[in-house]
Symmetry: C2
Subunit: 144 residues, 2 copies
């Protein structure tokens, strides 16, 4: 099944900080959307809301390997996302795996993830990121 994969290096940023970004509620609020809800505890859930278009998604926390790897499973959200997996590893290797088909929505999400990850790099290096609800600019409106 198709996978979205990214790799982002960050200057003078400790692995703990990168891990923080992809393993905690506060980290995801800096990376993805300020409306991040829930607890980043294995077996628990995180919800991500995007008030502008009402859309949101929820993930089960599958694995937290401190300073190494965090992995999540989609249990709520767009039908294309259900059962897909997110994983972040330091350096930061970032993956969104298990898409059923390589449709236009996957194209969209791929670019949008790239955008968020470049924002995360800026933020962790001391600048400003652009999560949804922050300085976010959409790459392409979805619905098309």
């Amino acid at each position: 099944m198709p996978n979205i994969v990214h790799r982002v290096g960050m200057a003078k940023v400790a692995p703990e900080r990168v891990y923080w970004a992809v393993s905690t509620k506060e980290g995801f609020a800096s990376l993805w959307t300020v409306q991040t809800i829930g607890q980043a505890i294995e077996g628990d859930f995180l919800a991500f809301r995007f008030a502008g278009n009402g859309a949101g998604t929820g993930f089960e926390v599958l694995e937290l390997l401190p300073d190494k790897r965090a992995a999540f499973k989609c249990i709520d959200g767009p039908k294309e996302w259900l059962d897909t997996h997110l994983a972040g590893e330091t350096i930061l290797l970032f993956k969104h795996c298990g898409w059923r088909e390589e449709g236009e929505f996957m194209h969209h999400c791929s670019t949008q993830w790239g955008y968020f990850l470049v924002g995360l790099k800026k933020f962790l290096e001391g600048g400003e990121g652009h999560p949804y609800g922050g300085n976010f600019e959409p790459i392409s409106g979805w619905s098309k």
Copy 2:
């Protein structure tokens, strides 16, 4: 085989302009690297140079469908890229297809393509892009 896929919408940009960006020497110089060499003619070749690290790549022009789709085949460059295909279609659906394995270099290229495509969006919407040799900032150094 794994594919890199992206989707980028642009406000008030004609399909001809998007097609120009992914089908001409001048377009690629705005999108990817100012050191774009050769002719964008079916059966001919385009070379892309990145003087900073000496790396470069060459593509055969496979298909030019005016204002619709442009496709290319890698014939020179990093071994992971050989025989992979690039294709741009308006809206802009952008693909880099046929990777043999989902290695760390593919993660890197995925984010880097996202970065270039966001730059293209800025440029075509009237701002400034960031091709290599222009306002380029690397997402992560390659070699690691």
